[in-house]
């Protein structure tokens, strides 16, 4: 006879006593592009070792918010960010922060695979080299190999590391970009529609990869595919017209959202 104690039942059900800690925190984040306000006072937490999906119709501010998380909006001259964003409780917009170092800690993968026009090896080695993460060629080789392995690409490219990265298929290129992001040992990886240019098989491989990467990294993903958000994420945040409409556990968001706008969007009634 196997009688479970109440405590062990609770443990089995995984009831939330050990909620993941907050890795990044946005408080009243607003963004203006010139006169136009793109984001309105967004409060959003990104939890450690979880995948947070940002969804919403085009122009809702989800990519804008994502780009705030590693200060990519700094590269747009007319963009102005207000509010506070912290990484491990440290304000990333503090003037003392080294933006290059921040972007190594918070890496990014874009919609269209954008490998450097260099060899596969160089694509991955570039970051660790400029950040001085490897002291010897052997160490750099090790970083390249382990990054390609983590990105699930190593076996496909190990015999042609010196060939151009742009010669790979779209799905392989995207995984190369993920390997490149991983190579500098980031803590957070931002993904802006990483599968929208990939076929279903390549998409499945990237999704599988996202799930594996979650063990070691915190991931924020912007996606237009509702099914993808439902499949890969633990938390989902819904944006609309620059506002954060609703944020919550993905399972609930896709079966029984609280906000009517979320419901209408995910069921295909607008957007």
């Amino acid at each position: 006879m196997n009688i479970m104690t109440e405590a062990s039942v609770e443990q089995k059900l995984g009831s939330g006593t050990n909620e993941p800690s907050i890795k990044m925190k946005g408080e009243k984040v607003s963004v203006h592009y010139g006169e136009k306000r793109a984001l309105f006072d967004v409060d959003l937490d990104v939890r450690e070792n979880q995948v947070t999906a940002l969804i919403g119709p085009s122009g809702c501010g989800k990519s804008t918010f994502l780009r705030c998380l590693n200060r990519m909006n700094d590269t747009i001259s007319i963009a102005r960010v207000t509010g506070k964003i912290t990484l491990d409780s440290e304000d990333i917009y503090d003037p003392k922060i080294d933006v290059v170092e921040l972007r190594a800690r918070v890496g990014m993968v874009f919609q269209k695979p954008n490998p450097f026009p260099k060899s596969i090896y160089e694509n991955v080695a570039y970051g660790p080299r400029i950040h001085g993460l490897a002291r010897s060629k052997a160490e750099l080789d090790g970083i390249v190999e382990s990054s390609l392995k983590k990105a699930g690409l190593f076996n496909e490219v190990k015999d042609r590391l010196l060939e151009s990265g742009t010669g790979l298929s779209g799905g392989q290129q995207q995984r190369l970009c993920i390997a490149r992001a991983i190579a500098v040992s980031p803590e957070v990886i931002l993904m802006d529609e990483p599968c929208s240019a990939l076929d279903p098989i390549a998409t499945a491989r990237v999704e599988e990869l996202i799930d594996e990467l979650r063990q070691n990294y915190t991931i924020v993903i912007v996606t237009h595919s509702m099914q993808q958000a439902a499949r890969v994420s633990q938390r989902t945040a819904m944006f609309h017209l620059g506002y954060l409409v609703e944020e919550g556990a993905t399972d609930k968001m896709f079966t029984n959202p609280d906000d009517k706008r979320t419901q209408d969007y995910i069921t295909g009634r607008f957007g």
Binding site: F254, T255, N256, Q263, D264, I266, T267, G268
Partner: protein, 235 residues
Amino acid sequence: MGEHTVASFDEDLAQISKLISDMGDLARLMVSGSTKALLNSDNTLAQRVVSDDAIMDARQRELDDRAITLIAKRQPMANDLRAVVGSIRMAGDLERIGDLAKNIAKRVGTVGLSVTPRDLSHSIDAMAQLVLIQVQGVIEEYAAKDASALAKLRNEDERIDVKYTSVFRELLTYMMEDPRNITACTHLLFCAKNLERIGDHVTNIAENAYYVLTGSQLPANRPKQDETAMSAPAA
């Protein structure tokens, strides 16, 4: 609820919803027909109920096909997903209600041959009325999207269970009084059990309908009052 950007999605959902409402109407007709046939020894009506069951089965198969196709084609989310999955489950319960009504109808000939059922089946009549109210109610409240009425209706099943217990005892008494009643009473007992089961399926439908409408489940335990199991001699 607004319309989908893709209009044919709305049409697909509407067809599924129409099938559920058709099956609900048919279930109600079958339950009322079978009990009426039983109480009046009406073999023609009983035959009609038996043949209606084939229509019920066909409707369920059609609903399953449409629901599976819709899920494959549209990947419904949130309330749409709940509506489709809920419909599949409700159709299963409605189909079972049809089977149970058919089973009652099939007994009409046998009961009628042995004894005039009218003397014995008085309590069954009262029980059947309770069941019919439930069947009718669940279809109407779902169509009216009234979740709180569904929650209330689910608890009403207790009255059927109480009635079943009393029918059980009554039939037992008739059998003890006169062994010649045993055949008819046994058939009636099965009929009563079928009615009680129909009540349980209505409860399931109410629970599913509530989930479809609200996204949350009713509490697992509802009042249960079938004491016939307890009156059996201890083994």
